[in-house]
């Protein structure tokens, strides 16, 4: 089983579109594919695959969460002092209160409480959904609850879940950016494609994501979206800087934009032909 991540740094460069075009190409070659939507804050792959909803929640993502027993608590203040997230505040009498939305579930408080007054319970932070698109295509989506700060926990859970999957090709569609949520989606993949556009923004953000991929030691290639709308030299410069090739390209296409906007990518005739790839990426 080969695992490919589709990432890019810049938002809106076409990660999800490219991930699905690669998917359709692979299916057309007879491979079984699982697409993993790791953009857990704003997952969209289900929309592009003509679905009205995420499908069934097959797993609630939970993280540990502290619960203070105020009868055992002697108001020593150690938990308040040691909480680096500043998630524990005190009333005037020293009674500690956990601010749920600031708590990062690190475990300092329940590990150090001298009175053993803090229990480790859990809270739900998101869900994992599974939807069969075709016989040989399954979509797995992670979605965080709105208001959750540490969304990387949902990505970690998603990555854990997919360890047990078997298929020919696993394609992970990451979020935009280069922070922990994206890095958790990129860890330990066989190959990564950085999707970019031939503009100063594309160039700037490509450099950033390629640095991340280098840091994670993931072999990578560039896919250039809307390659004919801008200045390709901007991207060629970055490619040369990192010793990485432009391995695929998609032209500007009003038709593709139309189908994308209506969530009907699969309805566009021969849609995957619009992505030209240099190599057989599924190998």
């Amino acid at each position: 089983m080969r695992t490919i991540a589709v990432t890019g740094g810049k938002g809106g460069t076409g990660k999800s579109t490219v991930a699905l075009l690669l998917t359709i190409k692979a299916i057309n070659k007879g491979l079984s594919v699982v697409v993993v939507d790791a953009d857990v804050e704003c997952p969209n792959d289900y929309i592009l695959l003509n679905k009205n909803s995420l499908g069934c929640s097959i797993l609630e993502v939970k993280v540990p969460y502290p619960k203070i027993d105020l009868d055992k608590c002697n108001r020593c203040g150690e938990c308040v002092r040691l909480c680096r997230a500043n998630a524990i505040i005190t009333k005037k009498d020293g009674t500690p209160i956990i601010q749920e939305d600031l708590c990062s579930s690190c475990g300092v408080c329940w590990n150090i409480c001298p009175q053993n007054a803090i229990a480790k319970t859990d809270k739900i932070v998101g869900n994992i959904y599974k939807e069969k698109i075709f016989d040989n295509l399954i979509l797995i989506t992670g979605q965080s609850l709105v208001g959750l700060r540490e969304t990387s926990s949902v990505v970690s859970s998603l990555r854990e879940y997919i360890k047990n999957i078997s298929c020919d090709l696993l394609i992970i569609d990451t979020a935009a950016g280069s922070h922990c949520t994206v890095m958790r989606a990129l860890e330990n993949v066989d190959y990564a494609y950085a999707v970019t556009e031939p503009t100063p923004l594309g160039k700037h953000d490509l450099r950033i994501i390629l640095r991340v991929l280098k840091e994670l030691e993931i072999p990578s290639g560039i896919i250039l979206n809307q390659y004919d709308n801008g200045d390709q030299k901007l991207i060629l410069k970055i490619a040369k800087e990192f010793g990485i090739g432009i391995e695929g390209k998609v032209p500007y296409s009003k038709e593709l934009a139309q189908y994308y906007s209506s969530g009907q990518l699969l309805d566009m005739k021969n849609v995957s032909n619009i992505l030209e790839m240099d190599k057989e990426f599924w190998l």
């Binding site: 740094g9 810049k10 938002g11 809106g12 460069t13 999800s16 953009d39 804050e41 704003c42 969209n44 929309i47 592009l48 993280v63 540990p64 040691l82 680096r84 997230a85 990062s104 579930s105 690190c106 475990g107 300092v108 590990n111 150090i112 965080s144 709105v146 208001g147 959750l148 700060r149 540490e150 969304t151 990387s152 979020a175 935009a176 950016g177 280069s178 922070h179 922990c180 949520t181 994206v182 890095m183 503009t199 100063p200 923004l201 700037h204 950033i208 640095r211 991340v212 280098k214 840091e215 994670l216 709308n229 801008g230 901007l234 934009a257 139309q258 994308y260 906007s261 209506s262 969530g263």
Partner: protein
């Protein structure tokens, strides 16, 4: 007053619109621009500033918004208590000693407090390069760039916002260009913000993300307005979003392929001849009205 431009969906035009709003507000107010996307800051680029060249900055410094463990190998015996307790799986045993997986570490300090051999100490890590630029018209733009592989982008955004306050004068309007998504860096941007401009594009993906962004804003009781960028790429979805927006609708901006030419020339959109400049001005006028109400 503090206005955050956000979207949920990436690539819909937050930075383009933020840069344009700065220009329009500057005619009547003192303004400061804050780029709250510390992963891939782009606001300065839309203002014609090459933000990769430090020489263009009036101020730049490396700051620390996180502390991470340093393991003293002379004290570490490889008991792996820290490895088993770390909630982020950020520690592993390498050659019989504890070793940090940098990008997974959130700097909570659990390993430091539980190590039975006092072998771990948290130290500040300079993880953000803070830069301040001035546009041609003298608008300060504050941005931060997080080092590759570092977490805690939310902390970095909070720090940048604090630093931006140094540039505050009377009746300053802060325009914050948020990151994509609705997670910690975006939450760090909207906390204490007075108003949000939600940028949507007429795609089903953006429509879905906009609704999640609104749910987040409602949790923080922040009023908002919606602007639809590239509205003419799909009139059905545009009309649906406009109807959904009701009294929160701020306006629409056409798709113009030539915007890329201005970007390549590093020419701010508002200084170009593009037709969308008039549309952006109309959005600004609606926004002005919206925030005064």
């Amino acid at each position: 007053m503090n206005i955050t431009v956000m979207s949920g969906k990436g690539g819909v035009g937050k930075s383009m619109i933020s840069s344009s709003l700065l220009h329009f507000f500057a005619k009547e107010n003192h303004v400061v621009g804050i780029d709250c996307d510390v992963d891939t800051p782009n606001l300065a680029i839309w203002l014609g500033i090459d933000n990769e060249n430090i020489k263009n900055a009036i101020e730049t410094e490396k700051i620390s918004t996180i502390e991470k463990p340093i393991i003293d190998k002379t004290k570490c015996v490889g008991c792996s208590l820290c490895v088993s307790k770390c909630q982020f799986n950020a520690l592993e045993i390498v050659d019989n000693k504890a070793s940090l997986i940098q990008h997974r570490c959130e700097g909570c300090g659990l390993c430091e407090v539980i190590c039975p051999h006092n072998a771990i100490k948290l130290q500040p890590v300079e993880n953000v390069t803070l830069s301040v630029f001035n546009t041609k018209s003298g608008i300060p733009i504050i941005q931060g760039l997080i080092s590759p592989g570092e977490a805690e982008s939310g902390e970095a955004v909070t720090e940048i916002r604090e630093i931006a306050k140094k540039y505050e004068k009377e009746n300053t309007i802060f325009i914050q260009d948020a990151a994509a998504g609705i997670g910690c860096p975006v939450i760090a941007s909207i906390v204490g913000s007075d108003y949000a401009v939600i940028v949507a594009e007429p795609t089903m993906s953006s429509e879905s993300d906009m609704k999640r962004a609104i749910e987040l804003l409602n949790q923080f009781s922040i009023p908002y307005g919606i602007v639809i960028n590239k509205y003419d790429i799909n009139l059905n979805v545009y009309n649906r979003i406009k109807e959904f927006a009701k009294e929160n609708y701020l306006g629409k901006i056409s798709y113009d392929k030539d915007i890329v030419k201005e970007l390549i020339k590093m020419n701010p959109v508002v200084e170009s001849d593009l037709g969308i400049v008039k549309e952006l001005e109309k959005v600004y006028i609606s926004l002005r009205k919206g925030i005064s109400e």
